[in-house]
Symmetry: C2
């Protein structure tokens, strides 16, 4: 519908259009912004002054030149005054990061999860979050909000985790208990956003990518579960019920091995960490598999290579269906290294050669094991700078 | 960027917001529209008067009631004064339809293609289009534009067909020669839009669907080629280079049979019409296969059933990756009937049962062999009513 009806929304849309323009091209002046956005020069000036006061923007030094007259002042995103907090409530542990508006990691803390009692885990996460938030406050930084990435289906509006098979959690409220715990230490004004882990990791690559990030962007999360987050049109592509990107449950082999979902031949039954360890020695940890690979264990190399080739097929299928501008791989299984990833890249290269096509822009996340936590921080930014 | 800069664009955005609102809910009054859109009552009245004058809207009779005072006048899309033309330049022939703004088919004409000389085919298509356009003019209908669905990759902005493997065409200008031919008969003011056949068919299901159409919507086009058009967020999802939805070239079986694309094990090598006929008797036409099926030929039934099961796997994978609100099947291979489609549905049902999940909203296009032509008409409407 028309967006001229709601003046405060319209103002926020225009403010954030300025922020996005400057994120895309640092050094724009108010005059540049007026030209780019179609807003009047005086509106731009007013909005910029607000954004500077609030910590979003900073005026750069005016460059001294030989030319006469006043030079327009270049504006940039202020990396110092506002911050974002992101959390990864993962099967392997809790990770919390604080980042600047540009995605630089300011601080990070991690703790292993012992047991999987939801109330206890959330209490510990709340403590980690409040410590980080209070630390930012002591540094004089403003906090835009807290994002939380969760290993399962999420009801974003309700703030609940619907189902996390690998934690054994079902219908667990997340936002409400975290908000209550933060309120008890005086942090009752901090917005909390929750979303699926692969989705937030995709947002991390998108919002904190260098330069203009090509779209669609797909983040493939490789671990016990195999999922994908998809960004298209600067928005998460989540499908009709929020389940889009369940790439681990596409069929890679008709009548193949039984998957945890009850079907046969799903990608996860070839690529998932449990499927890999089950074929080497049931119950083997990721670290133990990694050690076997390092020592050249033939069985481990064969099994992991086979999983890597299946990953190559999976990437081929994602590439063919979504025509992504970029694919980013992340998640714990990336630690399997070359034995896994080179096999995937070789299989993918064979498909591109056979079809005579260039390969996709494919990379490993530069945020490593913090990809979900950084993505959860990006979720806060995403919700703020893209208000409609 | 801000949309307040360009007044004529803003006006068109607001006009079309009214049209979309009334398409969604016929019978809204000007007061309802003002409330819905946030536009002032006087702006709504001015824009509605324009839309009535131009043939978009019609005022319904005011219902006589016992209540006192003037009742608000209900508005509806006018099915009588404006029309759309859609064309399907397909491997199997040329189809042209005229439709109302609501997608009712007003007229259709089809001709077989003899030879595949591009200039000659386009000349014949131009003649069919101009006959239809002049026929509409004689009926006093206004023509919003012409859409053309093409069996391959399309450069929408340039109006060219980049590559159509099954026609053997590469880099063929479409819009320019059609426009020139139409100009010669006085139709030089008609906008022409071109797009891929599966994409326009998806738009046909989306823009002309009954009630609110669930999203994402995927149209799977089944013929010699196997492709998909995807609508998400009321827009075509086309990917980074316009190739999204190439579902026929996802891998269904690692190291499977050779596909026309050079890879091995692609879905098209199992489900494509040429792959099916090659397994029964090379060169067999669709009609001949259909006859064999009707006569209970065991080999034909077995081959088509096998292809149908592969289609079931394909739909499962599309459903898992995109979480579509609706999947629509269309294209010539639908004529293979139950032997093909029931096998697909049964395979899909097995996956949903095994996972304990409800099945997708899956249907066959109600436009039959005209699905692409009707979709091409919908492309014109789509471009007009969604200006940004």
């Amino acid at each position: 519908m028309s967006i001229t009806g709601d003046q405060s929304l319209l103002k926020q849309i225009n403010r954030m259009a300025l922020v996005r323009a400057i994120r895309q091209q640092a050094g724009l002046s108010r005059a540049d912004l007026a030209k780019l956005t179609g807003l009047t020069r005086s509106t731009v000036s007013l909005l910029c002054q607000d954004l500077i006061n609030e910590g979003w923007l900073v005026e750069h030094e005016i460059q001294a030149t030989g030319a006469l007259g006043r030079r327009p002042t270049p504006l940039a995103i202020d990396p110092l005054r506002l911050a974002l907090i992101g959390a990864d409530l993962g099967v392997d542990g809790l990770h919390v990061v604080a980042t600047s508006l540009n995605g630089e990691i300011l601080a990070s803390r991690s703790e292993a999860i012992v047991g999987n009692d939801a109330a206890m885990v959330l209490e510990r996460l709340a403590r980690m979050l409040s410590e980080e938030a209070l630390s930012l406050r002591m540094q004089g930084r403003g906090l835009l909000g807290i994002g939380v990435g969760l290993p399962g289906g999420v009801d974003e509006a309700a703030g609940t985790l619907k189902f996390a098979p690998n934690l054994g959690w079902r219908d667990v409220a997340i936002r409400e208990p975290l908000g209550a715990a933060l309120a008890r230490v005086g942090l009752d004004d901090v917005p909390i956003h929750v979303h699926n882990e692969a989705d937030v990791a995709a947002l991390g690559e998108f919002e904190f990518g260098e330069g203009e990030v090509p779209e669609p962007l797909i983040f493939v999360s490789l671990g016990i579960g195999v999922g994908a987050g998809i960004v298209a049109g600067a928005r998460l592509f989540v499908g009709a019920n929020g389940f889009a990107g369940e790439v681990g449950h596409t069929i890679l082999k008709v009548d193949g091995p039984l998957c945890s979902c009850g079907r046969h031949g799903c990608a996860e039954a070839f690529i998932g960490l449990n499927a890999i360890s089950a074929r080497i020695a049931p119950g083997l940890s990721l670290a133990a598999i990694r050690t076997q690979l390092d020592f050249g264990d033939e069985r481990a190399l064969a099994v992991v290579g086979e999983a890597g080739r299946a990953l190559g097929v999976l990437i081929q299928n994602l590439w063919t269906l979504f025509n992504p501008g970029r694919i980013v791989l992340g998640g714990p299984s990336c630690a399997l290294g070359d034995a896994f990833l080179s096999a995937a890249f070789a299989r993918l290269a064979r498909y591109t050669e056979e079809a005579g096509l260039p390969g996709p822009d494919l990379r490993i996340t530069r945020f490593g094991p913090l990809a979900v936590a950084v993505g959860a921080a990006a979720l806060v930014l995403h919700k703020t700078i893209r208000p409609v």
